[in-house]
Symmetry: C2
Subunit: 138 residues, 2 copies
């Protein structure tokens, strides 16, 4: 039988009070997880640089929200490790950055999928919100 807890808290999250988590417990005392995060409400913008919000971190994936003002960027970079990431544009416009100074349009609904080891980045041309998912988590 399940027991529903209609509040709560994921200790891995940085803004636990503002996450809406529905935590449940299964038969054998094993915990299960389901939660909802309002990224547009929780994620802010910064004058000096993009703002970062940790949405979720687990052994399976890490989910981050990056918010940019026009002109701000996540500079092109890579890590020499196994795994892939996605960058999803939630709002606003910009360009995805690839190696050799390549640039590709980034509009709402556009998704970049990349090996973590492949150079990648993003630059905003308007106020812009993206969601980044990294699997396995770094």
């Amino acid at each position: 039988m399940y027991k529903a807890l209609n509040t709560i808290i994921d200790s891995a999250d940085r803004n636990p009070k503002r996450n809406y988590q529905i935590s449940t417990y299964k038969n054998k005392g094993e915990s299960a997880m389901i939660k909802r995060i309002e990224v547009f409400k929780e994620g802010g913008f910064g004058d000096k640089a993009m703002k970062r919000l940790l949405v979720h971190d687990s052994p399976y994936f890490k989910v981050l929200n990056f918010n940019f003002k026009a002109g701000q960027e996540l500079p092109i970079h890579s890590h020499d490790i196994e795994g892939q990431l996605s960058i999803v544009v939630l709002e606003g416009d910009g360009v995805f950055l690839g190696k050799d100074e390549s640039e590709f349009p980034a509009h709402p609904g556009d998704v970049l999928i990349s090996d973590i080891s492949e150079p990648h980045g993003i630059r905003a041309t308007s106020q812009m919100r993206v969601l980044v998912t990294i699997a396995p988590p770094i």
Copy 2:
């Protein structure tokens, strides 16, 4: 030295011709991957049921786009396996579905994170586009 191929093709994708992939090869002949998918252009809607687009599938995660007309849904379900998923609302409004007929608002930028083993679903109240990420892939 890298060799850039400014064309295409991921054999795991269902619409290879319409994916914009920048495929590169590293020194040792090992392939690296980076690609861009325009989900709003590629994903369609169906009169009878939601439409599904495979955006990416790899050993690390599977990414799917589900598009709904108002009233259509991904019925509540679960799989008794390890892993977690995220459902990100890209456009439109609806409700996330949880067990015991629970419902939670789903608006642009809202993210549901759930164990794959935990009952979850989504129902659209307007035309709606979401992106689902499953790690590890089912």
